[in-house]
């Protein structure tokens, strides 16, 4: 019981700090924190697969990107309505996720990873070349939809945008946390621990994996929508492999299988990027890559796992 | 020459060897008997450095070799002929032999010598020289496994169930090979299911039960009185 209440105290402390962030932080860091929340959501979505189901997706850029483009499509072609953008983005992400899930879950291990990678690159090529709809290389620019509920609407300020993002990320986190502790989540973890055994006790592993990919893809799409709304543009770069790679980095740095770890990983990554790019300019990935490799070799549980162990001792 | 001293070994969590001690003197054939699953093969693997002992020591030629890498042990003169033979399936017979032959200190003359010797022992292998390992029959694979071990010019061969699944005619041949090797001064630690064969070729016999050596006796004594054999191995 002490551990449980300790968890909630920590949860509300972090939530409070994040909620207060836009009131105390200067412009640059305010934006920075909002963005980390969005990337953290993306990383969290991928944790469902890496950390809980035990398969590495190298294709999360596709879900993220399709969420973005779906939202942009809704905003440009229909009405500049936030909820409409959400609906379109989620629909697009879900479609892609269903597609990827159907094929990739037939494969295991590295073949799963390569399959997700190949599919994400295919979607990249489609978006890059289908200029009439996607704007091709230049992407799409649009106006930010206002924050609206029926009968009330107001344009986003940096602070309200931050709170909007924070509440969506928090709700998604709580939902995912619940899912990982549900009977379904237990089956996913059983698959991670021992796939053949899970099959032998009567679970149709492939169907569980399909649902896991769908769920993960939907959350990644949600992150994409938030990013599009925050930045008012979409570009094919976000569908490119690099983004998927970064998502994997977030997970490994922060600690897989914890949901919070990947968010921490995203924060560390962007802080490292900020810090290191002073010395290494755009080549910051050289030291980041090295830190990443050291983490893989020496801290397989990631930063969060490491911190936890230190605290326990 | 080779000794295991109070060796404990685990496969993951499972405690397979609970303190095995045994000794093989130079040029001696020693049998290791016991029912299935008592840890005979694990004992050989532990000696060969394939399983790391949790406690205890392996001494070879007066030197503590516990924890020495397997390929170094092979170069020192320990050869292992595993139970399932483990012929390299897509290497030819000749290439299988080369895995042991291509090493420093083997000149042209010595190579020819060693090959000539195994082909004399196993004329069939000379015939099948260019055939892939996987196409050999069980008996031929067993011969190749022994021949391959001989390429290392070992001081001792750890021989794991050489007659398993072989026809009676082949069993006789294996027995002759063991005899010949002994005359050449090669020590053998023999794990076998066949008690008569073991008693016939060995000087001494150890009997294992549930991960420990329970009994040690000269083979002639056991041949004369099989009460011990019945007790530990009977059905």
């Amino acid at each position: 019981m002490a551990r449980r209440s300790g968890y909630w105290i920590g949860f509300f402390l972090v939530l409070g700090a994040l909620g207060a962030a836009p009131l105390v932080l200067p412009e640059f860091w305010r934006r920075f924190v909002t963005e980390i929340l969005i990337w953290g959501l993306l990383a969290m979505s991928s944790d469902i697969l890496i950390g809980y189901t035990g398969v590495v997706s190298f294709g999360h850029s596709a879900f993220f990107g399709l969420g973005m483009y779906g939202a942009a499509f809704g905003l440009l072609r229909f009405r500049p309505n936030l909820w409409l953008a959400l609906a379109f983005g989620l629909l697009a992400a879900a479609t892609v996720a269903a597609f990827v899930a159907y094929f990739s879950t037939r494969l295991r291990d590295i073949y799963f990873s390569i399959c997700t990678l190949v599919f994400s690159q295919i979607f990249y090529v489609i978006i890059f070349t289908w200029t009439e709809v996607t704007g091709g290389e230049n992407g799409l620019v649009f106006r930010q939809p206002p924050l609206s509920v029926p009968g009330w609407q107001r344009a986003f300020t940096p602070a309200t945008l931050h709170w909007f993002v924070l509440s969506i990320v928090t709700l998604t986190y709580l939902a995912l946390r619940q899912v990982t502790r549900s009977p379904f989540g237990m089956v996913l973890q059983a698959i991670r621990e021992n796939e053949s055994r899970t099959m032998a006790i009567g679970y149709d592993v492939k169907r569980y994996k399909i649902v896991a990919v769908m769920l993960s893809g939907l959350c990644a799409g949600l992150a994409g929508i938030l990013y599009a709304v925050q930045n008012r543009f979409v570009a094919p770069n976000f569908v490119f492999f690099d983004v998927s790679g970064e998502v994997v980095i977030f997970n490994v740095l922060g600690g897989m299988g914890t949901l919070v770890g990947p968010v921490l990983g995203a924060a560390v990554f962007f802080l490292l990027r900020e810090g290191l790019s002073r010395y290494f300019t755009e080549y910051y990935l050289i030291p980041v890559g090295m830190i990443f490799m050291l983490t893989v070799i020496f801290l397989p549980q990631g930063l969060l796992g490491f911190l936890r162990r230190q605290l326990n001792q | 020459m080779l000794a295991a001293r109070d060796v404990h070994a685990f496969y993951g969590k499972s405690h397979i060897l609970h303190g095995v001690s045994l000794e093989v003197r130079a040029g001696e054939v020693v049998g290791l008997l016991g029912r299935n699953g008592v840890g005979k093969s694990t004992t050989l693997k532990t000696i060969m450095g394939l399983v790391r002992p949790a406690r205890g020591a392996i001494v070879f030629d007066g030197r503590d070799v516990t924890g020495v890498a397997t390929h170094r042990l092979a170069r020192l003169g320990l050869a292992w002929v595993p139970e399932d033979r483990r012929i390299f399936p897509s290497l030819s017979v000749w290439e299988n032999l080369r895995t042991g032959l291509d090493r420093a200190g083997v000149g042209h003359a010595k190579r020819a010598d060693l090959l000539e010797k195994v082909f004399r022992y196993f004329p069939l292998l000379a015939e099948r020289r260019y055939q892939a390992g996987r196409t050999l029959s069980g008996g031929e694979q067993q011969m190749l496994a022994i021949a391959r071990a001989m390429m290392l010019e070992p001081k001792i061969i750890l021989l794991d169930e050489p007659t398993e699944g072989l026809m009676p005619r082949m069993v006789g041949q294996i027995r002759e090979i063991i005899e010949t090797l002994r005359q050449d001064g090669v020590a053998i630690l023999l794990v076998e299911q066949s008690v008569p064969l073991t008693l016939a070729v060995s000087a001494r016999v150890y009997i294992m039960e549930k991960g420990v050596v329970r009994h040690e006796a000269p083979a002639p004594a056991l041949r004369a009185d099989d009460a011990v054999i019945r007790r530990y191995l009977g059905v």
């Binding site: 390569i114 190949v118 690159q121 080549y283 050289i286 | 390929h71 483990r86 895995t99």
Partner: protein, 244 residues
Amino acid sequence: MIQLLNGLVNGMILALVASGLTLIFGIMDVVNFAHGELYMLGAYVGTTVLAAGGSFWLALGVASVTIFCLGAAIQLVTLRPLLGRDPLATILATFGLSLVLQNYALWQYGPVARKIQEPFTGHFRIFQLEYPWYRIIIAVLSAAIMLALWLFLKRATWGIWIRATAQDRTMAAAMGIPVPLVHTAVFSLGGAMAAASGVLYGPLVGVDQTLGPGSWWSGGWATSAARCWRPSSSACSSRSRRSG
């Protein structure tokens, strides 16, 4: 016909890169995400040698040897400590490696594509079309390298050690084969082959850091495959680049 020739040339290069990759995967069970980066770095080392006044062939040799050594260092530092860990760990480690190498190349050589001058500029006529000799040469050379690899694996002591290790690691060790060293050698050899193909392919596609990012796995394969199927464009583009 031209299509067929182009397909053959591209196929040969791909086969060369792939044989290095599968060599590593087949023997060490390591999926090398940084293979594309080794290919790219090989090409860059080639341009450096050429810039220093070396010949194309010297560049090919130096690139292969350099990447061979780099491969050995990488294997010792990153992959050997991961022996016995989850395959996921090696995937992640080589992925991290690809980030480092890719950005190192960007830093060292800059974003502007470099060109490797082909050693032969002649053309020959085939069905009313000019076809560059160099393309034929690389196809032949790639085939020769693969043949050499095959002979090496078939005949040489190390070749037999590599094959034995691939088939049964434990038994190989029991036969006195230095298995850890074989693993290092295999990784280096795979890298050297990637580097050689990088230099050979350089004159056709130019050399920049996008040659080898992790996306090379899919993007590279997909575009290469697409090039094989629509080769007219690549033959034309390489000719127009020359004329331009």
